[in-house]
Symmetry: D2
Amino acid sequence: MPLNPQNNLNLRPAHTALWAQYQSVRAATMAIVTGLSPEDCTAQSMPDASPVKWHLAHTTWFFETFILEPYEHNFSAFHTEFRVLFNSYYNAVGAKHARPERGLITRPGLETIVAYRKNVDARIRALLDDANVSSHVLQLLTLGCHHEQQHQELILTDLKHLLSRNPALPALRESWPLTPIAAREQGWINFSAGVVEIGSDGQGFCFDNELPRHRQFCEAFSIARYPVTYGEFADFIADGGYARPELWLSAGWEIVQREGWEHPLYWRRESADAPWQTFTLRGEIEIARDVPIAHVSYFEADAFARWAGARLPTEAEWETAAAGLPIVGHFADNGIFHPLATDVFEPSAHQPLHMFGDVWEWTQSSYLPYPGFRAASGAVGEYNGKFMINQMVLRGGSCATPQSHIRASYRNFFPTDTRWQFSGVRLARECR
Amino acid sequence: MPLNPQNNLNLRPAHTALWAQYQSVRAATMAIVTGLSPEDCTAQSMPDASPVKWHLAHTTWFFETFILEPYEHNFSAFHTEFRVLFNSYYNAVGAKHARPERGLITRPGLETIVAYRKNVDARIRALLDDANVSSHVLQLLTLGCHHEQQHQELILTDLKHLLSRNPALPALRESWPLTPIAAREQGWINFSAGVVEIGSDGQGFCFDNELPRHRQFCEAFSIARYPVTYGEFADFIADGGYARPELWLSAGWEIVQREGWEHPLYWRRESADAPWQTFTLRGEIEIARDVPIAHVSYFEADAFARWAGARLPTEAEWETAAAGLPIVGHFADNGIFHPLATDVFEPSAHQPLHMFGDVWEWTQSSYLPYPGFRAASGAVGEYNGKFMINQMVLRGGSCATPQSHIRASYRNFFPTDTRWQFSGVRLARECR
Amino acid sequence: MPLNPQNNLNLRPAHTALWAQYQSVRAATMAIVTGLSPEDCTAQSMPDASPVKWHLAHTTWFFETFILEPYEHNFSAFHTEFRVLFNSYYNAVGAKHARPERGLITRPGLETIVAYRKNVDARIRALLDDANVSSHVLQLLTLGCHHEQQHQELILTDLKHLLSRNPALPALRESWPLTPIAAREQGWINFSAGVVEIGSDGQGFCFDNELPRHRQFCEAFSIARYPVTYGEFADFIADGGYARPELWLSAGWEIVQREGWEHPLYWRRESADAPWQTFTLRGEIEIARDVPIAHVSYFEADAFARWAGARLPTEAEWETAAAGLPIVGHFADNGIFHPLATDVFEPSAHQPLHMFGDVWEWTQSSYLPYPGFRAASGAVGEYNGKFMINQMVLRGGSCATPQSHIRASYRNFFPTDTRWQFSGVRLARECR
Amino acid sequence: MPLNPQNNLNLRPAHTALWAQYQSVRAATMAIVTGLSPEDCTAQSMPDASPVKWHLAHTTWFFETFILEPYEHNFSAFHTEFRVLFNSYYNAVGAKHARPERGLITRPGLETIVAYRKNVDARIRALLDDANVSSHVLQLLTLGCHHEQQHQELILTDLKHLLSRNPALPALRESWPLTPIAAREQGWINFSAGVVEIGSDGQGFCFDNELPRHRQFCEAFSIARYPVTYGEFADFIADGGYARPELWLSAGWEIVQREGWEHPLYWRRESADAPWQTFTLRGEIEIARDVPIAHVSYFEADAFARWAGARLPTEAEWETAAAGLPIVGHFADNGIFHPLATDVFEPSAHQPLHMFGDVWEWTQSSYLPYPGFRAASGAVGEYNGKFMINQMVLRGGSCATPQSHIRASYRNFFPTDTRWQFSGVRLARECR
């Protein structure tokens, strides 16, 4: 539901679509948090995760700080403390509240943050009503919408982590439909060697890290038709996958031993004979073999691939395989925040399936700048570039990603021990 | 206000006073948390502190677990998960939720915990209505009331710590009256050498750690008439107190250097020329010279004493000096959770003043068992005895202690680096 | 063998005994390290322990810094860097090399340190040859001898810890005689209540922490005739001693769980059926039931006592029980650095045995200043006083203590989790 | 000097060169450690570094474990404990002594390790004398020689780190000649876009991580003629380089703040006005502006490049620029373990200079497997592949690398915060 449907008449035609996008994104955020208590929105379960309330405020802060502060006539902050309190990592903006202490901010309360959101919405609308708003504002507004979509996913993954630390394993949604799940035949799609082009082709929005489009050389490769499933991962476990150092990168094996990893995040079983359970945002459920596996680290994805006699794809391979495929799949828009196994279009022997949605797919590529990369100018230049080290690229979006947020050139990135994202596995191998 | 005033008619006369005490203690707890938001009650600022909600639940758990579970007819837990969730440290009860993760429990919410309190209150009342309730139940009920009073103080100190971590420095109470403060003349009260008796004399309730009453030998000593004040502590700072290793115990000096201590907890000033401010539960205020200093660790108390050419009293000395004094002073009952300087009775040249209330006074005595100490039987035997190591005794209660909770033989105890309690200093020295 | 026997003729008669003591102590230190390689003398196995080479140098530094620097005519340091390098913890002396990095000092090598020792020995002798040497120098020289004796014990315990970390479990001495071991009947010696006097009586040398002699009141108590043995401790283990939280102080139980303690330090067995082995400075040996147990922490001593239905003695009780006993027992002078079970004098039903030597005995007393304690003046005032917190007192000396170093009033002290010293247990209880 | 020159007559001609290589490498290792004391060879300054003695033993263990154990007739270990004690990270071999405790191994002493080396040398020679020795043995022997050369470099860098922690800053060599240093004009060498081939071309030895040779696409780029110098880095510091977050990767800025980095490793100056000094293996010297900078982390290299308006080269760019250049430069063979500025061949406007030797050059490429990479079979397959994550590639060798060890396709790798290697910077940028 648009926030102010009647007002659209005032807008310049060129701004109507952007305002509709803004309204839609902002409303989607609030839809996700429906039903959460103020307590649910305040707690922080680990330094990597943030409270829901913080996400609600920070996404608003982004619009207020990067758009209203420089461009609003007679700018006056909603609350002067928020500039520091809800700054995530922008050194150019100034001081930041310490990340591990975000869960200690009990005031402002949730109600105040909701009011903050409404206040900024109205001021953004007022800015747009000005026929002379600059194109830079429009670009920043678009960026802010995509930024908020990223945080929609983080709200879900951070909340999932928080709820999982409660011994009662409470649910965000008491139930959602579990669709019929069908086993599918695995297979390989082959690609021949050659120079490929990757990166955004300039059609539609992209982040700076998707640019410039450039050439890479790929040796011939095969990519798996389907992502790896819970069942296949259970087989890996049953075959001693977490007890065989030869399957693991050295740093991965260290963490397996130090942390006592014996299975992916959120798995549990009552005894060695009992079926595996997994925690989801609708509570704990028994794993279903044919569902794409989620919540594995790069180390686990890599060890699984080695066990399976394969490897992970590079991002150039992944993007080449995804090029031209429709951006369809199981996304957050469905309101079912767990991977599914439903085929989203007619399977073909020549195309990989489920490339988009369900689970992010780890690639064997480090998150590094493309040749000729230039960070966006101004403070928003800190958005992506400064994180280009010691992380691996994931591709394709997940069941917690808004559908309109994803594209073939999209580069997500996380450190190699990260497990609380909906991160999964698609195999690749040398062409045989 | 009593919870069920009309019901008292049903009670046996012998139980009326106990039920009134119970009602009064339970109501006092709720009075403290009036005005706090669910968020305020959920967050945990450090492993040593607990969320307000946890305190509300744990004190109720104490009654449910130690009284209702063994003695209620057809006992049925309010919620089966609570037995683990709100167990603090009783190994005999079984599993415990990890202490540093208490702030992650967003569900049950505050409303459920309030309902839990009411439910247990009614069931305790029903138990008391039984004319044949055993004396052991009555003893446990009394213990539970004193236990809850301890947590009233912890609610205040834990909340103060939490609010202090919010850059906005919010207040629990927007304002309370600051009474006129008068400078007082320091002095020494002398006591001659001899065998003294300390420990509870068996009049009224006491914890097991106050028993048995026994003899100790005290060499002649002097004790200060008044506690050390904010002003005197500011003089210590100005004289380089935090930069002179010769004033400190070795372990204290290490923490000064490692943590960068330059003043007691909650002090701050804009610049070296600006007046010292201190955070209180009514917000930040300028320090007043003549108010008893609070929030110093044992190490700071000890270093101050050395700087002042004195030492801290032993607990035998303190109790000897306090023996026979009326239990009056500035307590939590006033609703002013900061030390005051108001004289509570007519000063005398022969008596120490402000021994009770305002601030806990560090003693030079380790918290160890009295000769012949026996821990209480059953699970409540874990209440005190197992903590008798590596802590120092504090005496006299504070502005966050309920008046009815304190007595001359009361032994509080904390590790030597603890600062978030209302812990202060009274000097002693050899008799000259 | 005296260092310069021929020179004694030059000394004033009053200085002859002191010089003999000095020579004897210095020679005893070198005798301990005989046979160690330069590598053995350089490594540091944990921050609490120091390299042998450091001990050799630091004890020499003590004489050079506190005696030669102020009193030698035309003082010139052996090496200017040593003042910082071998300062242990004297803030008044100035900078210190970081304790955990003592093992990184490969230069100066062992040979240079031996030369340093000889150089300082000669200069001390030259100072003593001066007939007008002040009594303060003589006092410091005496202090330095006792200081070096303390480090003789630390050389043995630190070296034992270092060698134990080598998978080959090498020995300091390839073998020493294991004397016949006889089982002894345990029993209790009773003492009636009353005021006792403890602390040094002024006969002979004492550290400042043994003063002033003062009165304490002891309720009636019993003390065990013999120390607890390896066999009794094995019984405690077999009875689940390390798995029953009710036997432990809370802080002790935490360390049991965190560190996985299942037995005292240096114990090992091949399997649950195999006999217990213990590492000693002559290599690993099978435990002998009747030998006094060593290498237990305060927490283990306290848990054992609770299991045995007893407690540890206070230091006043211990010193009362030891008063008047001859200072005989199994000391380092025997060259057997492991407790023995040989009776050192005719057992009596009225006296505790083995109070001196074999193992230090943990007391239930915190290491705190005696009433009226004054630290020694000058830099050596940092010797004892600043450590009077969060440590427990041990009494009686061990198989690694030189016999001439110990006395009934001697107060040793270590934190409650310390295990690498020869620390053992003697039980006490209320008089029945 | 060959170890057994007279014996060469017995060797098959095909083995003569290999034996000469073996002898030469083994002798070069011992030449480096000439003059070190047993203490110098035993200490370990941090978990990442190992004692010299450990390096001497581990390189020998490599030959004994991977060659003698499977191939020697009637194999008998020199010492059974060594198999565990000197295993670095080969899980397939079995248990390993804990890496951070390598410095606690005082026994075996240095003499025993030298004897171990001689023993294995003789047995390797005996194996080679067998005319039927398999080609696999010859390959492993070659691998072992290159392995030992890697450890020669680590001996130097680990020893440098150890000596730097000694306040006396002792030297390995008291002096070595500092050659004349000439300023050189910086410049850029351009390369056009296209498909390049990188990886070993199969001529001579290579590690498995240099294979397979494969194609990559490089956009047009320029590479700097000379490495960045100490002087240029001093300019970066003077321009606030360590205080400007916008120059740093986020993870780098965190470490700058957490560790207080204000300059590269081993820099020091007496005051802000004093000249910068740097610690070297001949002691501390004043920095010389025109010498290639060493001991910078990837983070510092990257920040410097951003400050200079450039970036680091990728490994494909670096290898393309190095292709065809002679492998000459300043290597460990000179015995001068510090970068120099001497031109090693006639500078040309069309060639980058100093690509080999002096300092390792950080590339912008993560250390990842080449397409089609296969780890070597057997336990030696753990040599490289399992470390292919969270590290960056360095190229070209350093003043601590043996000249015969390096080649254009050689891939060195370290984590991004590593500074104790001789790691430096060469700039690249998009072609203009």
